[in-house]
């Protein structure tokens, strides 16, 4: 089993492939709007280099440290989410306040918070198994407050990802089946309510049922995604040959990059990309299965759940299997902070595999060499 290698290689493969696709999807619009065809590519490349660092950090982090600082991790996550509500701090676009502009990088709070919550819950549930209703209070309160904070940005899709990951962790942590049933029912009631509360979500739902009913309005994005996938067919129109990227497809380099992949590389290309995700996700599941402690198991499962659910949700949106909701494709979609966080998660996941091997040594050697030079 080369689980650690699988995690690292698939992560690198997806991230590098992402940079290529971002170039293809964004060069025209970037040239037009910023005068630099490589605008997004440069940002993503920087994100990737920083991501390699965060991945290394993730790899070298010890589980015990995470356990020790679990409340701090949770606290930082919540603070990042809550500062968005301070006027002037949060950056808004398309009616949602999701970003903090740090000057050199734009940070999406929920990206950090979702993994923060996973780490916190894994460590907390390890110490306090959720076997009774009383023991569920802290995990539910912390988990749901994260969900609510993200929901208020608003960002329903990431809320869904976090909520689903929360369920996965509680399940693995040993939650009783009757409690699980109750929770599932609660969620089933909550989602429709959340949709009805926001008029734009209802419109999107209608557009999802028949995008051609309003092709210039709510249905536009999905139709454009269909055009891309439909034009791609089996083998695609060839790398860099997308026509939809000429401003027809909104968010071609971010939330809808999978459409461009489908258009340029066809269903074959899509399947290859999905296969790489499956390698990553399958490795994550295997790591969780063979984990020695329940904490390791929950950490691996939580991280894997976030990767898997977000990937699935993105592809489902792009192909019109679920109503449109803005969620980036992990590792591939444009977004430096997102890439850094996901690469950190990959590093941590690789660490959790518990495999000890040769990679560690050259790393150490390199450090030593550098130290000597200095």
């Amino acid at each position: 089993m080369h689980l650690r290698r699988n995690v690292i290689l698939s992560t690198l493969a997806l991230s590098l492939f992402g940079i290529v696709m971002i170039y293809s999807a964004s060069s025209y619009s970037a040239e037009l709007h910023t005068g630099d065809a490589f605008f997004y590519v440069k940002k993503q490349a920087l994100g990737f280099i920083a991501g390699c660092v965060t991945m290394a950090c993730g790899y070298f982090v010890k589980e015990e440290w995470l356990a020790k600082f679990k409340w701090a991790i949770y606290g930082v996550s919540m603070v990042l989410l809550l500062v968005l509500f301070i006027p002037g701090v949060g950056q808004s676009s398309y009616g949602a306040t999701r970003w903090i502009d740090l000057g050199f990088i734009t940070l999406q709070s929920s990206e950090i918070a979702k993994f923060g919550l996973v780490i916190f819950l894994a460590c907390y549930l390890y110490e306090h198994p959720p076997t009774s209703l009383k023991a569920l209070i802290v995990p539910l309160v912390t988990g749901l407050s994260t969900c609510i904070a993200v929901m208020l940005e608003p960002n329903m899709s990431i809320t869904l990802v976090i909520g689903a990951s929360l369920m996965v962790m509680l399940f693995i942590g040993g939650m009783k089946s009757k409690h699980i049933t109750a929770a599932v029912i609660a969620v089933c009631i909550a989602i429709p309510l959340l949709i009805i509360l926001e008029p734009y979500r209802v419109k999107r739902l209608v557009a999802f049922v028949d995008p051609w009913a309003n092709p210039k309005g709510e249905g536009y994005q999905l139709i454009q995604s269909y055009y891309a996938l439909g034009s791609g067919g089996l083998f695609g129109v060839g790398l860099f040959n997308s026509r939809q990227k000429y401003l027809y497809l909104p968010f071609a380099e971010s939330d809808f990059i999978f459409s461009v992949i489908g258009e340029e590389l066809g269903i074959i290309g899509c399947l290859v990309v999905i296969a790489v995700y499956l390698v990553l996700i399958w490795s994550g599941i295997k790591i969780a299965l063979k984990a020695e402690s329940n904490r390791t198991r929950m950490l691996a499962a939580g991280i894997t759940a976030i990767i898997a659910i977000q990937t699935l949700l993105n592809i489902a949106v792009v192909s019109g299997a679920v109503p449109p909701t803005g969620v980036p494709l992990p590792y591939i979609s444009s977004g430096g902070s997102s890439l850094m966080v996901f690469m950190f998660a990959s590093g941590l996941l690789a660490r959790l595999s518990g495999e000890k091997s040769g990679v560690k040594i050259p790393f150490k050697r390199e450090f030593k060499l550098k130290a000597q030079k200095i």
Binding site: Y28, I223, Y226, Y227, A228, L229, G230, S231, G233, R243, Q244, Y246, L247, Y248, G320
Partner: protein, 524 residues
């Protein structure tokens, strides 16, 4: 939800390409011998955008000089806040190139296709005209528009969402198909003669309007057709719509009138054909005839005395024709009128054909029949009259008048051919021969003397009818007509002239016949 890749691709392609139409060239209209009567020409429209005009004085000077426009007005427009000015339409290419070489700024040019009629005011009402987008609006231009217009081509330009052209992608040209050419039965030289004749007739008689048709009586081909007043097709007076509608009306086809004495050709032919009347028939005219207790006057109130059939036709004696109509009876007469197509549309290829009318057979009384006999109490279009008269002299065949001979697609194939078939046996061949001889005497010795042309045997019949206005006879308003045909032995041409409201003299023999003679003179 099931979506098909192919249909998505088609929709996607539609949004990826901006298609700019390439106007197809409109087909030509030719006379029977291939003389170009209507064609298309590429001209240019000059626009100016004040905001991008940096040397307004120079630009205004060049444009005003080259396009003969007012300098001050143009400069004022260039100084205004208008985003775009249409400087002039219909500019020649050489002028455009000249202007662009003289350092003007903010000036740009677009191509447009314009309809051109080489002879201007010629066949005007029949030809009709197009609107500025080259779509036929009246006359043949409208009737055959679907053939003439062709199919527009397109330039498909690969572009982004907002229409910016993509530099690295192809531009596709979809060639348009030129419209088909319509060849008419009109003959330019005869049309020239006809236009001259109606023109001089209108001048001499000061008539409200004068119309004439020349047709081949054997197959219904219209050889010439025209009405005055008219207008120049290259300069359609579009400002006054009501006047334009009136001027472009093909009254020969669309308006009915009381034919008067010209209708006597039909009456005489029916009489002879019935066998009730022979060339030896004699009738007495005392200046009037009493029918059903009503006294109906002959035009010559002192009477014609005793006349032979031939003399009666030559003098156009009303009493003779009343007697003929009464002799053949209502049933025979109405059946005959139906065969001659008196109240039936001819099917000519001109829009808006009207149909004649008369008293319904079931309510017609002898007094009415007598009147119909000499061309009153019956109304028909001039084209219906001409067709009926043709049947009288062509051996008894009813033709379908038509102006279009055939239509040739841009690839040379003939896609439409006029139907020249005739309905035979309206009257007997011998009756028709007799009628030709009798009608020749009208021109030789009778009321139609004015139509004589040396060296050609011409037959014909005059007509003068009083006009009705609001159901009552309009005093002093007449419609004078003449139907003539030549040569008598085997007619190749039949002509009808309708002079509406001549001033002063109004007898058909005086105001109408000479102009048919004028037309025949130039044909033979």
């Amino acid at each position: 939800m099931v979506v098909s890749g192919e249909s998505l691709q088609v929709r996607a392609l539609e949004q990826w390409y901006r298609d700019v139409p390439l106007k197809a060239e409109r087909g030509e209209i030719l006379d029977a011998n291939g003389v170009l009567l209507a064609s298309s020409q590429t001209t240019y429209v000059i626009y100016a955008r004040p905001i991008s005009c940096t040397n307004k004085e120079l630009t205004a000077r060049v444009l005003s000089e080259k396009l003969s426009l007012n300098y001050e007005k143009l400069l004022a427009k260039l100084n205004s806040k208008t985003s775009e000015i249409t400087v002039k339409k219909g500019v020649d290419k050489s002028v455009v190139l000249d202007i662009l070489s003289l350092g003007v700024t903010g000036v740009f040019v677009s191509r447009s296709i314009e309809r051109v009629y080489p002879y201007g005011d010629f066949l005007t009402q029949v030809m009709g005209f197009t609107n500025v987008d080259c779509v036929g609006q009246t006359g043949l231009e409208s009737y055959y528009n679907s053939y003439l217009q062709g199919r527009d081509g397109y330039v498909c330009v690969a572009s982004d969402l907002v229409g910016r052209k993509l530099s690295d992608d192809a531009t596709y040209y979809v060639e348009g198909v030129k419209g088909a050419s319509v060849t008419l039965t009109i003959q330019k030289n005869i049309q020239d003669a006809l236009e001259n004749a109606v023109e001089s007739c209108a001048l001499n008689t000061k008539a409200k309007s004068v119309s004439a048709i020349v047709m081949d009586p054997t197959d219904g081909s219209i050889l010439a057709m025209g009405t005055t007043p008219s207008f120049d097709l290259n300069d359609v007076p579009r400002d006054d719509v009501a006047t334009l509608m009136k001027l472009s009306r093909v009254s020969l086809v669309s308006d009915v009138f009381e034919p008067g004495s010209t209708f006597k050709m039909v009456t005489a032919a029916l009489g002879l054909d019935s066998g009730k009347i022979t060339t030896g028939y004699r009738s007495y005219c005392g200046g009037a005839l009493v029918v059903d207790g009503q006294r109906i006057k002959c035009w010559r109130t002192i009477g014609h005395g005793s006349q032979s059939f031939s003399e009666g036709v030559a003098s156009s004696c009303n009493c003779l024709f009343m007697n003929i109509a009464l002799s053949v009876g209502v049933d025979y007469f109405y059946e005959g009128m139906a065969k001659f197509g008196v109240t039936q549309k001819t099917g000519i290829d001109i829009s808006g054909e009207a149909s004649g009318l008369t008293i319904p057979q079931e309510s017609v009384k002898n007094v009415d029949l007598a009147r119909i006999g000499f061309g009153q109490a019956v109304a028909m279009t001039p084209i219906e009259l001409l067709r009926a008269c043709s049947a009288v002299i062509n051996g008894g065949n009813l033709v379908t008048p038509h102006i279009c001979s055939h239509i040739t697609a841009s690839d040379g194939s003939v896609i439409y051919q006029a139907d020249s078939s005739v309905t035979r046996g309206i009257i007997k061949e011998s009756t028709s021969a007799t009628m030709r001889e009798v009608l020749e005497t009208v021109v030789l010795t009778g009321s139609g003397k004015g139509a004589q042309v040396e060296g050609v045997r011409i037959g014909g019949k005059t007509g003068t009818a009083q006009k009705y206005e609001n159901g009552a006879i309009a005093r002093g308003k007449y419609v004078s007509t003449f139907v003539g045909f030549a040569p008598v032995e085997s007619p190749k041409y039949i002509a009808l002239i309708v002079v509406d409201e001549p001033v002063g003299a109004y007898y058909g023999g005086l105001v109408a016949a000479p102009y048919v003679g004028q037309i025949f003179k130039s044909i033979f």
